[in-house]
Amino acid sequence: MDTTLTVRPKSGTTSDKAAPDIQAILLLLAGSFIFANLLALFLQQLQPRYLLIGVSWALSAYAGHRVLKHRLSDFGRLLFPLVMFLSGWGLVLISRLEPTFADRQAVWLLIATGALLWTATTPHLLRWLRLYRYLLLIFGLMLLISTILLGQNPSGQAGAPQLWLGFGAFFFQPSEALKVILVAFLASYLSEQYPNLRAAVHSLEPSNAWLSPRIIGPVLLMWTLSVVILIWQRDLGTASLFFAVFIILLYVASGRIMIVLGGAILTLIAGFVAYNLFAVVELRVDIWLNPWPDADNRAYQIVQSLMAFGAGGIFGQGIGQGTPNFIPVVHSDFVFAALAEEYGLLGVVSLLSLIAAYTARGLRIAVLSQARPFYSLLALGLTMLITVQSLLIMGGVLKLFPLTGVTLPFVSYGGSSLLMSFIVTGLLLRLSAEVR
């Protein structure tokens, strides 16, 4: 397979108009899958809720299709159907796992679609992001500080991570917004600094290239920020995600593979220190290394998750036919395991293909945007937010690495996560429209 990303000639508007409406076709395919599953659930439990959820999805898909088709003359035809497929599949799973939560998620989907459309169709948004990057960063850090000071947990459970800000019955996870803000800031910063970065790197001996202050400075800054998040919020997932995405951005900007190795070493150091300092990290590492002796207690969740994969086999148990509810909090962190049990390995490969397609599409936008480095790095960072977060939670659920407690973008239950994932997609659509 030729995986080299090359810039293809711009397709003509005339031929695009003559081409079949790919977005509509893909949305119809996605809709068929989602409605078939909702119908299966409806027939099993005869609850009209499933049909209402389907209507909510259909409204979002139809509105998104109409707006994107008319407001953007040229746009990424694949991205919107992709995220609608993923979020619809997520709605199906949440409906099956926690029906009452599905109602809320359906409302969040409508809100998130609105946010996506606003983001994708606001002409000056990208310019604002670059111009007001410091303001945005300050806002993001204020959000972080406010979470540290005023954070709550919607479950009200003692000892649970306080990662949400509450407004009455409404909860929002600021770290979700912080992800996008930080990516925008870093893309803007690196798009200006990358020539200097590359010059600084090349002025040193190759073996000492990573010692350049222009490289090591930002790395240590982000590392510190990640550690702060880890310490104050015990949010291993967000800290890991920030640092990983930052390292990728810095690698692409500087062109030095040593950045990645250095980042890996710093991650190991932070992990070692965190393991010895924080019980939550120690627990996650311990049950990752050997969950079996404690399978009925502390490692119950991960062991049940692995059993769900085994129970699903190749073809899965079928929607509503498995027993994924043995996994605690399955609708959020472990929705991937529920998907594996009910749709089997075929479902897992399908999901990963969708995420791979999203990644490839996002990186293609990054390649096509190289004339404007900010756009290119922003597309890269936004794409990596989705890809790395997906890898973190899927790998954790499969015991490839310790659990980080992040959601599976578009699929897991969580309003903040869904909203920000749609905003990320909206920005990618905006970037796609700008470059083509």
Binding site: T3, I248, A295, M307, I314, L345, L363, A366, V367, Q370
Partner: protein, 471 residues
């Protein structure tokens, strides 16, 4: 372009990472799935088990004895229909497992044998259809079982009725027992009960034989050419085993008795003399050939009867062989073992091997006859068998088992008392011939009683019913 190379690397790394996730998912879903799913702490195991529609159990005439039915709340429930069969059929419980025929034929009842069929695998693995088990038809007969249960009433003990020459188990009872329909709720009480209701006395019980060992000793006497007609003036004298004084089971009309009369009145002294006359090795060889040291196992019941526990006993000839052969030593016997011995006596010396499975039926309704895997075991010569039949017939005239006499029937039997610590057991073994070839035999033991007439009457009453129905 500025970032093309790096972006290509990022794409490649992302795709590789995603493929790594697929690899891990493949491992847990396919390669390692059996290992993780078979863990005892997998809660899906119980749900899967609960979803299995176990096959029904029928009696030999097609009467349903146990069925899996769906309750109003949609759950599957195992129901045993006849109280008389409670001890014969064992139990199935999601919480406590299986026992008895439910355990012996568990693989069949769960439908495990069908997994070799491609169509069945497709239905289970791909379509996720519920696992359906095969139905089985047993050799047990509801009418005979009911009659045996009726005659046993609430007595504590066990009984087995076999068909000769086939070896089919027609009825089997062990008391006290349990109700398999309320097993889960009764479990704690049952497990604490002194009477050990879960212990299947007919299959696993090892009892003190007492005077019932005079039947195998009579076989030994025939095979070693002992005289059954020579008068013995000391035949009615008591015999002492430790502090136990053994005398004739019923008072004989005179003090001088032949060996045949001693057998009929249950007098131990002539048998003690015979034991002392015969070589120890000869006696041990004879006992071995009668399989008294190695109780039989119903075909397919290896795990249920726990082969280790019933493994061949060893007798120390130098210490206690006399006591053992007088029925008050270390040697213990099992109802099924004695029933098999009587079956050999009735069947020209060849012991049919007991079995219980007649046929199976797949979920789509195809019946298959099941052939027993064990062959009859020669125990004695045909002449010796005929001689023993005559001796046992004589027992019913005015001997120890005269309560079992049925003048219009060709039957025989032997009854005896055994002492075990402070308790007393009473044995009855007997046969009822249907024609030249066919017969039914019984071995019955009652705990905590020394009433020979009661045991004889009960044993022959059950046997008469069995004969009428089996004919």
């Amino acid at each position: 372009m500025a970032f093309t190379r790096e972006l290509t690397h990022v794409l490649l790394a992302s795709l590789l990472a995603l493929m790594g996730v697929i690899g891990a998912a493949t491992y847990w879903a396919v390669i390692g799935s059996d290992n993780i799913l078979e863990r005892e702490d997998n809660p899906r195991l119980i749900l899967n088990e609960a979803a299995i529609q176990r096959g029904s159990i029928y009696d030999r005439n097609g009467l349903p004895l146990v069925e899996t039915v769906r309750t109003e709340n949609g759950a599957l429930e195992r129901r045993t229909y006849y109280e008389a069969f409670y001890s014969a059929l064992g139990y199935f419980s999601l919480r406590y497992g299986v026992d008895g025929p439910e355990a012996a034929f568990n693989t069949i009842l769960r439908g495990e044998r069908l997994t070799d069929k491609v169509g069945v695998r497709f239905e289970r693995d791909i379509l996720h259809q519920p696992q359906m088990g095969e139905a089985i038809t047993l050799t047990l007969d509801q009418s005979i079982q009911q009659r045996l249960s009726d005659v046993m009433q609430d007595e504590q003990g066990a009984a087995v009725i076999l068909s000769v020459p086939s070896g089919e188990v027609l009825a089997l009872i062990s008391q006290p027992t349990f109700n398999p329909n309320t097993l889960d709720s009764d479990w704690d009480t049952l497990i604490e009960a002194d009477t050990d209701p879960f212990f299947n006395r007919a299959l696993l019980g090892q009892y003190q034989p007492g005077g019932i060992l005079q039947t195998p000793l009579a076989v030994a006497a025939v095979l070693t050419g002992q005289s059954f007609s020579e008068p013995n003036a000391t035949a009615t004298q008591t015999v002492t085993v430790d502090e136990l004084m053994l005398s004739c089971a019923i008072p004989p009309p005179q003090d001088t008795l032949t060996l045949a009369q001693a057998y009929a009145y249950g007098c131990p002294q002539p048998f003690e003399q015979m034991i002392e006359r015969l070589n120890d090795n000869t006696l041990l060889t004879l006992l071995g050939s009668l399989r008294l040291l190695e109780p039989p196992i119903i075909d397919g019941f290896g795990l249920v009867q726990n082969v280790d526990a019933t493994a061949e006993a060893t007798l120390d000839a130098s210490v206690s062989l006399r006591d053992d052969l007088l029925g008050q030593g270390q040697l213990t016997v099992n109802p099924l073992g004695l029933a098999t011995l009587v079956a050999a006596i009735t069947n020209n010396g060849n012991a049919p091997q007991p079995y219980m499975l007649l046929s199976t039926r797949t979920p789509d309704g195809v019946w298959t006859d099941e052939q027993p895997s064990l062959s009859p075991i020669p125990m004695m010569t045909a002449d010796a068998a005929v001689r023993l039949q005559d001796l046992m017939r004589a027992n019913l005239n005015d001997g120890v088992a005269n309560a079992a006499a049925r003048p219009d029937l060709d039957n025989g039997g032997h009854a005896a008392v055994a002492f075990s610590g402070d308790s007393t057991q009473t044995w009855f073994i007997g046969f009822l011939r249907l024609d030249n070839e066919q017969a039914v035999v019984i071995a019955l033991v009652l705990e905590n009683t020394g009433d020979l007439n009661q045991a004889s009457e009960m044993g022959m009453a059950a046997l008469t019913a069995a004969a009428a129905l089996d004919a």
